[in-house]
Amino acid sequence: MTTERIVVVGASMAGLRAAEQLRAAGWTGTITVIGDEPHMPYNRPPLSKEVLAGKAPFESLAFTPRASTADVEWRLGTSVTAARLAERVVVLDDGTELAFDGLVVATGMRPRRLRCDGPCGPDSGRHTVRTLADAQGLRDELTRPGVRVVVVGAGFIGCEVAATAVGLGVTEVTVVDPEPLPMLRPLGELLARALHKRHEERGVRFALGTGVFGFEGEDRVTGVVLSDGTVLAADVVVESVGSVANTEWLDGNGLDLSDGVLTDEQLRVGDLPYVVAVGDVARFPNARYDGVPRRVEHWSIPGDTAKHAARSLVAHLTGADAEAGPFAPLPTFWSDQHEFRLQSFGAPALGIGDVRVLDGDPDGDVLVGYHADGRLVGVVALGGHAATTGAARYRAQLLKQPALTS
């Protein structure tokens, strides 16, 4: 007699939450979680902030798994190289094949790297911030006296790392981005401008409207060559230029892997009721909005997707045919930079064409509303506690609204 098994591929937050939610949904069979990092799941946001700043130890990041997952089998330091979904088999990096009844795709993303000339490799001074090892390596270099830092990419991670570096006492921190303002695409011009000003006032320099052409240096980077020919002297480069989905192991199964793993409104993959995807690798339609499938790289998504996907998977495997409503999370994100916070509820990116100040002033605490067809679809606060509390007041309103699809 064999025990039924659900395999979770990916042992980060989404993998952990999936395991917990499978138990919460009533799954009593085996759960095997496979992850390529050597660590138990840990919390990543502090890697660009508190932990990078040295205010919290690396050990503080480990999640405390729920007691219900005590019998989960963890295969860490192991990657899955292939899957044959029709046969319900995954292949591990040592060639072992593992059969499953249900599969959870939780392999997440990895940082996109710049492909241009110059030194590369582990000791080149070029960094990304995704894993514990990444943050450890970057911290070691940021704390060297007199270090000059160039951050490529003015998104969430780039802006956070720049703020943390300045906070650590680094005097030369320059953020490079082809857009004219930092975080322009997620926030729109009004807040991007306010953010830009705050960073400059705190000593962050910017080279905006320009890309990176290449790197100078032999074994180690000594400078960053911009598209306009300017060279920025640099001892440390942080590349925060987006991410790439870890889906290669799913190749050959006829899935839509054009941007993460396409799912239906129950987070099922490829019309296979025994395969679901969770976390930022899942490209799902959100029934709260326009139904267009999107990947969402917010911290709240692993938990939200895991809960819904686990229910759908367990219902199928146990023969309970309780069809849940479609997945419709209310997105939320935050970002801590210097002493201020960005706090968002809803989907500001869908209302970027109609941005209004709801409260306050862009030079101080400010609350901004994003509208589609005249209707509020998201809010973002920038500032201190008063601003973020203001954003929270709009959360209930955003939750109550009917779907955007007409």
Binding site: R17, N43, P45, T388, T389
Partner: protein
């Protein structure tokens, strides 16, 4: 049920307040206040609150 919040980790995000408003609150200064021995009937809510804490500062001790 016993709830412990590591106040050294807590950064007053308030996500726990949305999940378990009977247990967690932000005071007028925006600082977290919470009930350390909530009724067991609130366990699901408190587990949810612990899950969504960005700093993972909430621990449930049975």
């Amino acid at each position: 049920m016993k709830v412990v919040v590591d106040m050294n980790k807590c950064q007053d995000h308030g996500q726990c307040v949305f999940s378990a408003p009977d247990v967690f609150q932000l005071d007028d200064n925006g600082r977290l206040a919470y009930v350390s021995d909530p009724d067991d009937a609130l366990r699901d809510e408190v587990e949810e609150a612990a899950d969504v804490c960005p700093l993972q500062a909430i621990r449930i001790e049975d």
